[in-house]
């Protein structure tokens, strides 16, 4: 036996559904626009949240301190002699010189990241072969050998070949032999990466033997990272000193609502929807007013009419919300966020596959719900209340 109050609400719900179906074109149109706005907001939030979570999960082992030399506001090569200066700071466990930079491949218009260091001196350096799908990391004695990311392999069109050449700054060619390929599992980090020996990188970039790109510093006691970083900054005033903590913080802010283009697009969509809702709120159509008048003449109370409008609004907005959020998950998880990705990667020729777990949090859902569903409810129920309080004969006449 259904309680009387509930039965009344189910009857009102039936009436609301019939009423929505009578104006199906208009209502489906509103639901579509509403759903698209929620889909865009949800996709953006799920994608940026997923990237932030991934960064947090994998960037825990970045170098404890990175030292870069600055000149005229720009980063430039740092002298190896600085390593000797740093020996005076007590608590430093290891200083590892590193050469890295970018190589622009003019034939493919792709930008590769070149990285070179003594991997044996790095933490987990002896496990690096686990990150490869085939081959091995170049030994110190193996000159002219490289490990490449999967996109580098595809863009260079190597196929089964193992040799390729890059131009030095003087346009002479330097050949490399591919001895390893990074695994698909590390695509999010190594997709555009070419790893080689320090000597090969020095040769490719024509860097003098006394210079490297930056220095990675590891300390004996992790609690002293900040203190040692300050000492380094005092000792080497022409350098920029970045700590592990600062590097990790970058990814907590780099994707956010404040990022320019995306927020402009999303806010524009939200404003467009607000205008639509405001248009609806500014007055009911004569047909809707007449319907309310007839219902009042038939004995319906103002509260019943408000209940009908409430059900109509809550159905449209809730369905749009659920469908929009579900579609956003599909978009990020199964389609690599293909609508947002072109903006995010820009003119990059290398498009890393986004194997990401969409970030689904209650806070994000509540935020989207508050920005979309609640204003729509207010925008539809308030004009119905205004109309239902006027005498019915004046409405239907």
């Amino acid at each position: 036996m259904i309680p009387k109050g509930l039965e009344k609400q189910i009857n009102i719900l039936d009436f609301s559904l019939s009423s929505l179906w009578r104006r199906k074109l208009k209502n489906l149109g509103i639901m579509l626009v509403f759903g698209v706005v929620i889909f865009l907001l949800g996709s953006f939030q799920m994608l940026t949240g997923a990237l932030t979570n991934s960064a947090e999960a994998v960037l825990g082992n970045t170098p404890e301190i990175t030292i870069q030399k600055m000149s005229a506001g720009r980063q430039e090569a740092i002298p190896r002699a600085y390593i000797e200066k740093l020996r005076s700071i007590y608590g430093i466990r290891a200083i590892i010189p590193r050469i890295w930079g970018y190589y622009f491949d003019e034939s493919n218009l792709a930008n590769f990241t070149i990285l070179a260091l003594d991997s044996n001196a790095m933490p987990a350096g002896n496990k690096l072969n686990l990150t490869l799908s085939q081959g091995h990391f170049p030994k110190e004695t193996e000159t002219g050998t490289v490990v490449i990311g999967r996109s580098v392999h595809n863009i260079l069109g190597l196929g089964t070949r193992r040799m390729f050449s890059f131009f030095r700054p003087d346009l002479s060619l330097k050949s490399f032999n591919v001895v390893g390929l990074f695994s698909q599992k590390t695509d999010l980090l190594t997709n555009d990466l070419i790893f080689m020996n320090l000597e090969d990188a020095r040769d490719l970039f024509a860097l003098p033997p006394s210079m490297v790109t930056d220095l990675c510093v590891y300390v004996a006691n992790p609690a002293e990272i900040e203190t040692i970083a300050k000492k380094i900054a005092l000792l080497l005033p022409d350098t920029r000193v970045l700590t592990k903590n600062q590097i990790q913080k970058t990814y907590q802010v780099v994707f956010s609502w404040r990022s320019g283009f995306a927020s402009i697009c999303l806010l524009t969509a939200l404003v467009a929807f607000a205008i639509l809702a405001w248009d609806k709120a500014s007055g009911l159509s004569p047909e809707e007013k007449r319907e309310i008048g007839i219902l009042k003449i038939l004995g319906w109370e103002t509260s019943d009419i408000l209940a009908v409008r409430f059900w109509e609004s809550i159905l449209i907005s809730t369905l749009a919300f659920i469908i929009g959020c579900t579609a956003a998950y599909f978009h990020v998880a199964f389609f690599d966020a293909s609508l947002l990705k072109p903006i995010m990667v820009g003119w990059s020729v290398i498009h890393p596959p986004f194997k990401l777990l969409p970030s689904v949090t209650l806070g994000d859902f509540l935020l989207i719900f508050t920005f979309s569903v609640l204003p729509y409810l207010g925008a539809t129920v308030i004009p119905a209340w205004r109309c239902s309080t006027v005498p019915p004969d004046s409405v239907i006449r």
Partner: protein
């Protein structure tokens, strides 16, 4: 069939889809956890600082080790023009100095 019954069926269908997505997310999380272990080795062994998401500009390829003013360094009065730069928020200036 009453309209409310059709609505109930629709909601049940959506709940079914979302439940399936929930289990998909759980399974994906387990797969990605394995991937993260391998990625952590790559980060530690190669001293990596950034995700490889956008490769068009150095300040979006390596935002963690880039100057905040890098997008405007091409010449005096230069404006930032790479599309990916407009998607990414500028990292906070975290220099120790």
């Amino acid at each position: 069939m009453r309209p409310s019954h059709i609505l109930l069926t629709l909601f049940l269908l959506l709940i079914l889809i979302d439940t399936a997505l929930y289990f998909h997310a759980k399974r994906l999380a387990i797969t990605l956890k394995d991937d993260h272990a391998v990625q952590a080795i790559a980060v530690a062994g190669l001293g990596l600082t950034d995700l490889c998401v956008a490769t068009e500009a150095r300040y979006t390829r390596h935002p963690a080790v880039t100057d905040p003013m890098a997008p405007f360094m091409d010449h005096p009065g230069a404006i930032e023009h790479f599309p990916s730069g407009s998607f990414w928020n500028a990292p906070i200036y975290t220099n120790t100095r």
